[in-house]
C-alpha cells in the first residue's frame, strides 16, 4: 500500500515537472512562427503551374495560423490572387481568406477594402460567389462597424443581377446577415432610405428575389428573410424578444436578428406556398409561420369574398393545406409548424380533425348553412356500414367546397400519411396544440387512440406518450378506455409500460371502467409476469385517483360474501396483490371502505404494508392499534407538514450557523444533535430527504474537521503524534470522500453550494498537508505537495470568482489575502500559516438551494440475493438482464456506473457465479470478476428510457465472459 502511494506521489510529482517543460516547447514553436507567411510566399512563388499552387494552398489550409501572422498571410494571398489565372486556385484563395478572417482575435477591418477590390475584375462566377462568402465572414466578424456593413450591402446589391445563381444566393445571404437591423426602428420616421443615405430597404430588395427564376435563389431569398431556425428554436427567441424589445443577434438572418418583417410580404409568401420546388415551399411554410407569429391579430381579406379573418387563422389554414403536399419534406415541415401556432382560433383548430366538413368554414356560418351541413355529412361514407353512402337527399352541391378546404382534416391526413416521419410530426403537433386547448384535447383523443394501432412502433409509443401528456384535460369514456386497454396485450415491453404510465394519469368516468381496467391489467399480468411492478404501480394510482368508483366494487374484488366466509386467497399471487393494491390505495381517502374488509384482508394489509411499503399507503384502520402513528400523522397533515419540516430544517441550519468557533464541546454536541435531527427528518419527509441528507452530510464534514483540529491534539508530545495523526488522516480522508459525494450525488446544486463544498474540500486538503509536514517524510515531498496545494487554491479562485464575495472571513478568503506571502515562503512557514488560518477560520454557513434531490438508483433486476446463481461456461458469453430506475440524474448516458461483481462460491467451481450489483454515479457499467479483473461497459443511449421528469430507466444486457479460472 505504502509503495503504491509512493508510486502515485511520484507520478504526480513527475507531472508537475512536465508542465513547465511543455511550456518551454510551446515557446520554441512560437519563435518559428513568423516564418510561416514567408514560407507560403516562397511556396506560391515556386509553384510553376496551378495544380502545384493548389496543392500548396491545400497543405497550408491544414495548419493553423497565429493571430499575428494572419494579416501578412492574407496580403501574400491577395498578391498571388491578382497574378493567378486559374479559377480553382483563385477560388481556394478566396475561401482561405474567409477562413483566415475567422481566426480568433484577428480583426479583419484592414482587409475589407482589398477583399472588395478583388470583386471588381473577377470574371468567374464561382470565384465571385466564394469571394462574397468571404465578405460575409468578414462582415459578421465586424458587427460594430456600420460603415463596413453599408459598403458590403452595396457590393451585394451590385452583384444581385449576376446571371449565376450561386452569386445571387450569396448576395442575398449577405443582405440577410448584414442588412440594417436598425432600419425598422427608424421605419416610422420617414424610412431608412432617407435617414441613412445610400442604405436601401433591404427587405424590399430581398423580396424582389422571391420571384427569381432559379428555385435555389428563391429559397435563399426566403432564408435570408426568415433565417434557418425552425419553430422549435424560434418560439423562445420570439417570446424573449417580445419582452425585451428587439435584440440584435449577429450571424442570424434578418428575422432572426430582430428585424421585423413587413406584413406586405405575407401575400408573396402565400403565393410561394404553391411553388414548383419543394425547398421553396418548405422555406415558404417557415416564412408564413414567422409572419403569423409576428402579426397574429392583423386582418386579411379572403379572396373572392368580402370577408376578413385574422392573419394567424389564415396562415393556419394555408399551412394545414401543405400537410397534403406532394413532397414529404414539406409535409413534415408543415405538420411540425402547425404545432407551434397556438394563437389559432378554436374552430379552425377543430376543423383539422374533421374531414367531412366540406363547406368553407372561413365564413361565419348561419343556422341555415349548418343545417345544410348535416346533409353533407350524411352524404359521405364512413366505410363502416354497408351502403351508407347511398344518396339520401339531393343536396345543393354549391355548399360543398372541395378545393379551398382550408384547415379541413389536416391532421386526419397527417396521421394517415405514408411516411412515418410525417405521422410522428403530426402526433407531436397534436400534443402541443392539445396542451393549450382542452376542448381540442377532447376531440383529438379518438385520433390518438387510433394511432396506437400504427404499423411503426415508434409512432405507437409516441402517441401513447402524447396521450399521457394531455391526459389531465380528458376523462376517458368506456369505449375509449376499451381501445386503449387493448394495447396492453402488445408484445413490446416499452409500449406496455408506456401504457401503464398513461393509466396512472388517466381519469375514468364509471366504475365499469375501473373494473375493465383491472381485468385487462390482470390479463396483462398473467400474460407477461415481468410487468408485475409496473402493473402494481399503475393500480396504485388508479386506486388513489378514483376511490369513489372503487368503493362499490370492493365486495366483488375481495370476493367477500355477506353470510359466508370465503376461502383466504393466496398471499403470493401477484394478481391478488394487484387487487389489494388497488383497494388499499382507494381506501386511503375513503374511510368507509375498511368496514368491508374481511379479517384476512387486515392481516394481508399488515404484511403488504411491510413488504411493499411503496405501493401500500398507511391506513387508519378501525379497532387497530396505530402502529404507524407517526406516518399517519404525517399523511393527515398533508402539505402543511412539508412546510413545517422545511421550517424546521431552516431553523436547524440557522442554529448551527451561530457556531462561531469550533472549540467548545457544546458546539460539537449541537452539531451532533442537528445531524441526528436532520437524518430523522429525511426519513420522515420524503420530499425533503435530499435537502436534509445534504445538510447532514455537510455538517458531518464540519464536525469531523472540527474534531481533527481540536486544540489539545495539536499540543501533544511528539510520541503521541502517530496516534493522533491516524485519526486526523482518517478524518481528512473521510471529509474528502464526503465532499465528492456532496458534489456529485445531488442534483439541483447552484454554484454557491458547489463553492461551499469545494471550500470544505480545500480545508481537508490543507489538513492533509499539515499532517504530511508533521510526519517529516522528506522535504521534496513536502515541497511538491505545497505546490499542489497552492495550485488548488488558485484553481478554486478561478472557478468560483463570482462566489468569492459570499465567502467573507472564510478559510479561503484569508488564504487569498496571504497568497503573495505564501507563494514566496518556505514550506515549513506555509504549513504554519495554514495551521493557524485553518484553526481561526469559522464555520461557513450553508445556504440551501431551492430544489435539491439526491440521485438514487433502484435495481429491479437482477435482485441482489438470487437463489439460483447464473452459470456460464468459461470462454462463452452469458447475458445478464439489468433493469434499474435512476432518479434525479442529469445526464445518465454519461454518468452511470453499474457494478456487477461476479463472486466465486466457496467450492471454487468455475462455472458457478452469483451476482450483486450496485450503482455509483458518474461512472460506467463495470463488471468485476473474482480474480480482480474488471470490464467497463458503456450502456447504449438507446437503453435509457425516460418515463417521467427526472427519472430514467435503464434496461440493458450485460455480457459476461471469462476464461477459465485456475
Amino acid at each position: 500500500m505504502a509503495a503504491h502511494l509512493k508510486k502515485r506521489v511520484y507520478e504526480e510529482f513527475s507531472k508537475v515537472v512536465q508542465i513547465p517543460h511543455e511550456e518551454a516547447q510551446a515557446k520554441k514553436l512560437r519563435l518559428s512562427k513568423p516564418s510561416k507567411s514567408a514560407a507560403l510566399h516562397v511556396d506560391l512563388c515556386k509553384a510553376t503551374n496551378s495544380t502545384d499552387a493548389l496543392q500548396y494552398l491545400l497543405q497550408f489550409a491544414r495548419k493553423p495560423v497565429e493571430v499575428e501572422s494572419v494579416e501578412g498571410v492574407i496580403r501574400i494571398l491577395l498578391e498571388h490572387y491578382y497574378k493567378e489565372t486559374d479559377n480553382s486556385v483563385r477560388l481556394k484563395i478566396a475561401s482561405l481568406l474567409g477562413l483566415l478572417s475567422k481566426t480568433n482575435g484577428f480583426s479583419p477591418d484592414c482587409i475589407v477594402d482589398d477583399a472588395i477590390n478583388t470583386l471588381g475584375n473577377e470574371k468567374s462566377h464561382q470565384v465571385l460567389a466564394q469571394l462574397l462568402d468571404t465578405l460575409l465572414v468578414i462582415g459578421s466578424q465586424l458587427p460594430e462597424s456600420p460603415a463596413v456593413r453599408l459598403r458590403l450591402i452595396e457590393v451585394a446589391c451590385k452583384h444581385l443581377s449576376d446571371t449565376y445563381f450561386g452569386v445571387r444566393n450569396k448576395c442575398l445571404q449577405l443582405l440577410g446577415c448584414l442588412g440594417l437591423v436598425d432600419a425598422p426602428l427608424t421605419k416610422d420616421s420617414n424610412g431608412p432610405s432617407s435617414s441613412s443615405g445610400g442604405a436601401r430597404d433591404v427587405q424590399s430588395i430581398i423580396s424582389n428575389y422571391f420571384a427569381d427564376q432559379d428555385p435555389r435563389v428563391r429559397t435563399a431569398a426566403i432564408k435570408a428573410m426568415v433565417g434557418h431556425s425552425g419553430p422549435q428554436i424560434l418560439v423562445p427567441i420570439l417570446a424573449e424578444r417580445i419582452t425585451q424589445g428587439l435584440i440584435s443577434v449577429f450571424q442570424l438572418q434578418l428575422h432572426d436578428r430582430g428585424m421585423k418583417i413587413h406584413q406586405i410580404i405575407y401575400d408573396q409568401a402565400c403565393r410561394l406556398l404553391s411553388d414548383d420546388y419543394e425547398q421553396v415551399r418548405s422555406a415558404a411554410v417557415q416564412m408564413v409561420w414567422v409572419l403569423s407569429q409576428l402579426y397574429p391579430e392583423s386582418i386579411v381579406p379572403i379572396p373572392s369574398s368580402n370577408e376578413e379573418i385574422r392573419l394567424v387563422d389564415d396562415a393556419f389554414g394555408k399551412i394545414s393545406h401543405m400537410v397534403s403536399d406532394g413532397s414529404w419534406m414539406v409535409r413534415v415541415q408543415a405538420a411540425k409548424t402547425l404545432g407551434s401556432m397556438l394563437q389559432v382560433s378554436s374552430h379552425f383548430l377543430e376543423q383539422t380533425l374533421d374531414k367531412k366538413l366540406m363547406s368553407d368554414l372561413r365564413r361565419k356560418r348561419t343556422a341555415h348553412e349548418r343545417a345544410k351541413e348535416l346533409f353533407v355529412s350524411g352524404e359521405f361514407s364512413s366505410g363502416r356500414k354497408w351502403a351508407d353512402d347511398a344518396p339520401k337527399e339531393k343536396l345543393d352541391s354549391n355548399t360543398v367546397n372541395l378545393i379551398a378546404s382550408g384547415a379541413c382534416g389536416a391532421f386526419v391526413h397527417g396521421l394517415e400519411d405514408e411516411m412515418f416521419e410525417v405521422r410522428i410530426a403530426a402526433v407531436e403537433a397534436l400534443c402541443q396544440l392539445a396542451r393549450s386547448s382542452p376542448s381540442f384535447a377532447e376531440k383529438c383523443l379518438d385520433f390518438l387512440v387510433d394511432m396506437f394501432n400504427d404499423e411503426i412502433e415508434e409512432v405507437r409509443l409516441q402517441s401513447i406518450h402524447v396521450l399521457r401528456e394531455i391526459s389531465t384535460h380528458i376523462t376517458l369514456r368506456e369505449d375509449q378506455l376499451d381501445t386503449v386497454l387493448a394495447v396492453l396485450e402488445d408484445s413490446s415491453r416499452d409500449i406496455r409500460e408506456a401504457l401503464h404510465e398513461l393509466l396512472c394519469y388517466t381519469n375514468v368516468s364509471t366504475k365499469e371502467c375501473i373494473q375493465l381496467a383491472l381485468l385487462e391489467l390482470l390479463k396483462n399480468l398473467n400474460k407477461y409476469p415481468t410487468d408485475r411492478n409496473s402493473v402494481w404501480k399503475c393500480l396504485k394510482f388508479l386506486g388513489s385517483r378514483h376511490p369513489a368508483l372503487v368503493l362499490p366494487l370492493v365486495p366483488e374484488l375481495l370476493s367477500t360474501h355477506p353470510y359466508f366466509d370465503t376461502p383466504e386467497p393466496d398471499m403470493d399471487d401477484p394478481a391478488y396483490i394487484a387487487v389489494l393494491v388497488l383497494v388499499f390505495n382507494a381506501a386511503k381517502s375513503c374511510p368507509t371502505m375498511p368496514a368491508l374488509f374481511s379479517d384476512h384482508t387486515f392481516r394481508h394489509y399488515a404484511y403488504l404494508r411491510d413488504s411493499l411499503s411503496h405501493l401500500v399507503p398507511p391506513l387508519r384502520l378501525p379497532g387497530r392499534k396505530q402502529v404507524y402513528s407517526l406516518d399517519s400523522v404525517d399523511s393527515s397533515c398533508g402539505s402543511s407538514s412539508v412546510e413545517s419540516a422545511q421550517l424546521f430544517l431552516q431553523q436547524s441550519l440557522n442554529r448551527v450557523s451561530s457556531i462561531q468557533n469550533l472549540e467548545t464541546a457544546g458546539d460539537q454536541d449541537l452539531l451532533n444533535f442537528t445531524i441526528r435531527d436532520l437524518q430523522r427528518l429525511g426519513e420522515l419527509q420524503t420530499e425533503l430527504a435530499g435537502a436534509a441528507d445534504f445538510c447532514a452530510t455537510y455538517l458531518r464534514c464540519q464536525l469531523l474537521l472540527m474534531k481533527a483540529l481540536q486544540e489539545k491534539l495539536w499540543n501533544v508530545a511528539v510520541p503521541l503524534y502517530l496516534q493522533q495523526n491516524v485519526t486526523a488522516t482518517a478524518a481528512a480522508q473521510q471529509i474528502l470522500e464526503e465532499t465528492y459525494k456532496l458534489e456529485f450525488l445531488y442534483s439541483g446544486l447552484e454554484s454557491r453550494q458547489v463553492a461551499t463544498i469545494h471550500h470544505v474540500r480545500l480545508q481537508a486538503k490543507a489538513l492533509q498537508l499539515i499532517l504530511t509536514a508533521r510526519t517529516r517524510q522528506g522535504l521534496d515531498l513536502l515541497i511538491s505537495s505545497c505546490e499542489k496545494f497552492l495550485q488548488e487554491v488558485e484553481s478554486f479562485q478561478r472557478l468560483f470568482l463570482s462566489e468569492l464575495p459570499h465567502l467573507q472571513d472564510s478559510f479561503v478568503d484569508k488564504l487569498l489575502e496571504l497568497m503573495p506571502r505564501l507563494v514566496s515562503c518556505k514550506p515549513a512557514e506555509l504549513v504554519k500559516i495554514l495551521q493557524t488560518t485553518l484553526r481561526q477560520s469559522g464555520l461557513l454557513q450553508l445556504r440551501l438551494p431551492e430544489q435539491i434531490h439526491r440521485a438514487t438508483a433502484t435495481i429491479v433486476e437482477p435482485t441482489g440475493e438470487s437463489d439460483n446463481p447464473l452459470k456460464f461456461t468459461s470462454g462463452l458469453v452469458v447475458a445478464l438482464d439489468i433493469d434499474a430506475t435512476l432518479e434525479h440524474l442529469h445526464d445518465p448516458q454519461n454518468s452511470v456506473k453499474v457494478q456487477v461483481s461476479a463472486r466465486l462460491p466457496e467450492n471454487l467451481s468455475f462455472s458457478k457465479t452469483s451476482f450483486e450489483s450496485s450503482f455509483f454515479n458518474r461512472f460506467r457499467l463495470q463488471v468485476l470478476y473474482p480474480d480482480g479483473q474488471s470490464h467497463v461497459i458503456h450502456p447504449k443511449p438507446g437503453d435509457f428510457r425516460k418515463p417521467g421528469p427526472n427519472r430514467h430507466r435503464l434496461i440493458t444486457q450485460v455480457y459476461l465472459s471469462h476464461t477459465a479460472w485456475t
Binding site: G326, S381, S382, G383, I403, D450, D454
Partner: protein
C-alpha cells in the same frame, strides 16, 4: 388549332371495361383494355370496331398502355391483340406484367372450362400477347417513337398500379388508371409531379364520397376479429385473390405478432400463392415500412398465415380464414360460409363491394334466411360485418391529385354518371371538365408552345437591353428574324438573316422638311441650330459633323437654302425607322414641336 381527342370505349360514365382512346399530336393511344364483369355476351369486351371496321388494329394504334392488373383494366388484352389483331407495343409495369397473365389464365379457365364457352382466347394467346409487352419502370421516360413519350407514376391501388403521362411535343395527357391517395398497410399513396397536363383523365369511383380516417376502420376490423377469436369463434373473410387480400393479411399478421395471438389464420390457396410470390419480389413497389424492414424480414413471408385445407373448416377452436371469391357467390368462401353460418359465435366480414343478387349482398342487407339451391334454407346466425377497404381515391383524394398535377382540363371516367356529375360541378368552378359516355368524343383544343432555336448572340444582345434579369413571369418582346427552313425554326438577328439569305439590306428613312426664315448663311444657320440644341437637350449626344450635318443621337439635321429665297432655309430632318422604337423616338416626339417654335422665333 391542334386538338386532343379522348373517346372512351368502356368506362365512360360506367365502372368496368376500361378502354380509352386518346389521339394527341397525330398519335393514337389506347389506355387500358379491360372486360366488364357484369356481361357475358359481346358487351363484355370493348367495341374495337370503333377503331376499324375490319382488319388489324396495328395501323391505327401507336401503343397500348395497361395501368394495372385488374381484369376490368386488362381482361380484353389477349382478345384485342390476338383475335382482333394488334402487333404494336403494349406497355405495363413490371409487377403488372408478372401478375396479369395469372389472372388472365384464371379468367380464361372459368369462362372456357367452367362455363364452356367457345370462341375465347387460349392460353397460347395469352402467352403470345404477353410477348408484346414492354415493361415500364416508375418515373422512366420511354420513347415510343421519335415524338411520343410515356412516363409512369406510382398510383397505389394495387401492386404495380401506375398512372401514365403521355406526351407529344408540349402536349400531354395523364391517365390515372385506378389510384389511391391514402396509403395502406402494404402500398404507398399515389404521387405525381406538377406536370401540368392538358388533360387529366381520372377515375371517379368515389366521386361523392369522403371517407373517414382509415385508422378507425382498421381498428374496428382488428377489434372485431380479436373479440370473435377470444370468444372462441371462427372468422370468415371473403376476398378476391389479389389486392385487398394482401393488405388484410399484413394487417392481421402484424396484429397477431404484436398481440402474441396463437389462433391460426388460413388463406385458401390457388392463384394466391403464385401472386404472393410476386408480392415478395416487388418490394420496391410497396410502402415505406415494408421497404425498410424487408432486409430483416419480408412482410409477405407470413408467419401466422398458412395455406387452407378443406378439412380445416371443421376443426374446433377459433380461426380466421380468408377465402375466395369475395361476394360469397360460389366456391370455397360459400362452402365455408354454409358450414359456419349456424353458430352465432362466428363472424363473416365483407371487406368490399358486393354485386346485387349475390349472397354477400343479401346478408349485408340483413337477410337472415337464405334460400339455397335445392330448396334448402339456411339460417344465418353468425355476425355479419362490413368493412370498406376499397383502395380508390375519394373526392378529396381526387382533388388532391388535381392539385398535385395542375391540369388544364379534366376528364372523368370509371364512375357512375350521377356521382360524376357532382364532382364535375365542383371541378368546373376552376376549369373545364368532361365526362364523355362510351363512344362519345371529348375534344380539347390546345395551345402548344412552339420551340424555336435562337442564336446566342441575339439572345445576349436582347438580354442586355431592358431589365437586369430575364423575368420568367413577364413576356418580353424582342427583335429578330424567324427563318423557317426544312422543318426547323430559327430565330436570328436581321443582319445574320440577310447574310444567310444573301439579300441586301435596305434602309428606310423618314424625312421631314421644316421651312424657316433665316438671313444667315447655311453653315451659320446650322451652327446656330447646333448651339441651341446643345443648350436645350442636355444628356443627349449632339455632334456637329464636318460634312455640314448635325447628329442628335441618330437623327440627322441638314440645312439647305432654297434657290428662290436666300432667307428661306429648309431644315431637313431624317431618321431611320428603328428610331420609332428606340428611346430617341421619345426625344423626337417631345422636342419636335420645339423646333418649330425655335425656328419660328428666329
Amino acid at each position: 388549332m391542334p386538338e386532343i381527342k379522348v373517346t372512351p370505349l368502356g368506362a365512360g360514365q360506367d365502372v368496368g371495361r376500361s378502354c380509352i382512346l386518346v389521339s394527341i399530336g397525330g398519335k393514337n393511344i389506347m389506355l387500358d383494355c379491360g372486360m366488364h364483369m357484369g356481361y357475358n355476351d359481346d358487351r363484355r369486351f370493348p367495341d374495337f370496331s370503333y377503331v376499324t371496321q375490319n382488319g388489324r388494329l396495328t395501323d391505327f394504334l401507336d401503343c397500348v398502355i395497361i395501368s394495372h392488373f385488374h381484369l376490368d383494366h386488362c381482361g380484353a388484352l389477349p382478345y384485342m391483340s390476338e383475335m382482333v389483331g394488334y402487333d404494336g407495343p403494349i406497355y405495363m409495369t413490371h409487377p403488372t406484367k408478372a401478375i396479369c397473365p395469372i389472372l388472365l389464365e384464371d379468367f380464361r379457365k372459368i369462362t372456357v372450362d367452367k362455363k364452356g364457352e367457345t370462341n375465347f382466347f387460349t392460353s397460347q394467346m395469352i402467352k403470345d400477347c404477353m410477348k408484346k409487352v414492354v415493361p415500364l419502370n416508375l418515373h422512366q421516360t420511354v420513347q415510343v417513337d421519335d415524338e411520343l413519350e410515356i412516363k409512369a407514376y406510382y398510383a397505389g391501388h394495387v401492386l404495380g398500379a401506375a398512372m401514365v403521362q403521355i406526351k407529344v411535343g408540349s402536349e400531354s395527357v395523364v391517365y390515372t388508371g385506378d389510384y389511391n391517395m391514402t396509403p395502406d398497410r402494404h402500398l404507398g399513396a399515389a404521387w405525381i409531379d406538377k406536370c401540368r397536363p392538358d388533360i387529366l383523365i381520372s377515375e371517379s369511383t368515389y366521386a361523392t364520397t369522403i371517407r373517414d380516417s382509415k385508422r378507425c376502420r382498421e381498428r374496428d376490423f382488428l377489434k372485431k376479429v380479436h373479440e370473435s377469436i377470444e370468444r372462441g369463434g371462427k372468422v370468415l373473410i371473403p376476398v378476391f385473390a389479389l389486392g385487398r387480400a394482401q393488405e388484410l393479411c399484413i394487417l392481421l399478421e402484424t396484429f397477431w405478432e404484436r398481440m402474441n395471438l396463437k389462433a391460426p389464420i388460413y388463406f385458401s390457396t390457388g392463384l394466391t400463392e403464385k401472386a404472393n410470390h410476386y408480392y415478395k419480389l416487388f418490394i420496391t413497389w410497396t410502402n415505406q415500412k415494408i421497404r425498410k424492414t424487408f432486409v430483416q424480414r419480408n412482410m409477405f413471408e407470413f408467419k401466422h398465415i398458412k395455406a387452407f385445407d378443406r378439412s380445416y373448416a371443421d376443426n374446433p377452436g377459433p380461426m380466421v380464414v380468408f377465402a375466395t371469391p369475395g361476394m360469397l357467390h360460389a366456391g370455397q368462401s360459400l362452402q365455408i360460409f354454409k358450414k359456419w353460418a349456424g353458430n352465432e359465435k362466428n363472424m363473416v366480414i365483407m371487406p368490399g363491394y358486393c354485386v346485387q343478387g349475390t349472397i354477400g349482398h343479401k346478408i349485408l342487407n340483413g337477410q337472415r334466411k337464405l334460400e339455397m339451391e335445392g330448396r334448402a334454407t339456411l339460417d344465418v346466425k353468425l355476425q355479419v360485418e362490413y368493412m370498406s377497404f376499397s383502395a380508390h381515391a375519394d373526392a378529396k383524394g381526387i382533388m388532391q391529385l388535381i392539385r398535385m398535377a395542375e391540369p388544364r382540363n379534366m376528364l372523368l371516367v370509371h364512375g357512375e354518371a350521377a356521382k360524376m356529375e357532382f364532382l364535375k360541378g365542383k371541378i368546373e368552378q376552376e376549369f373545364n371538365c368532361y365526362m364523355p359516355a362510351n363512344g362519345e368524343t371529348a375534344m380539347v383544343t390546345t395551345n402548344p408552345s412552339v420551340p424555336v432555336d435562337m442564336s446566342l448572340n441575339l439572345l445576349k444582345r436582347e438580354m442586355a437591353l431592358g431589365g437586369p434579369l430575364p423575368d420568367p413571369k413577364k413576356p418580353r418582346t424582342m427583335h429578330g428574324t424567324l427563318i423557317m427552313k426544312e422543318n426547323s425554326l430559327k430565330l436570328v438577328s436581321s443582319e445574320q438573316a440577310l447574310k444567310e439569305l444573301g439579300l441586301n439590306e435596305h434602309q428606310l428613312r423618314f424625312t421631314c422638311r421644316v421651312q424657316l426664315q433665316d438671313p444667315h448663311s447655311d453653315p451659320d444657320t446650322l451652327h446656330r441650330v447646333y448651339t441651341h440644341l446643345k443648350s436645350v437637350l442636355k444628356g443627349y449626344t449632339i455632334q456637329h459633323l464636318p460634312d455640314g450635318t448635325v447628329m442628335v443621337e441618330s437623327i440627322v439635321i441638314k440645312v439647305s437654302s432654297s434657290a428662290e429665297d436666300v432667307n428661306a432655309k429648309v431644315l431637313l430632318l431624317s431618321w431611320s425607322y428603328q428610331v420609332q422604337q428606340s428611346p430617341t423616338y421619345l426625344f423626337f416626339r417631345r422636342f419636335r414641336p420645339r423646333f418649330g417654335i425655335f425656328f419660328g422665333n428666329v
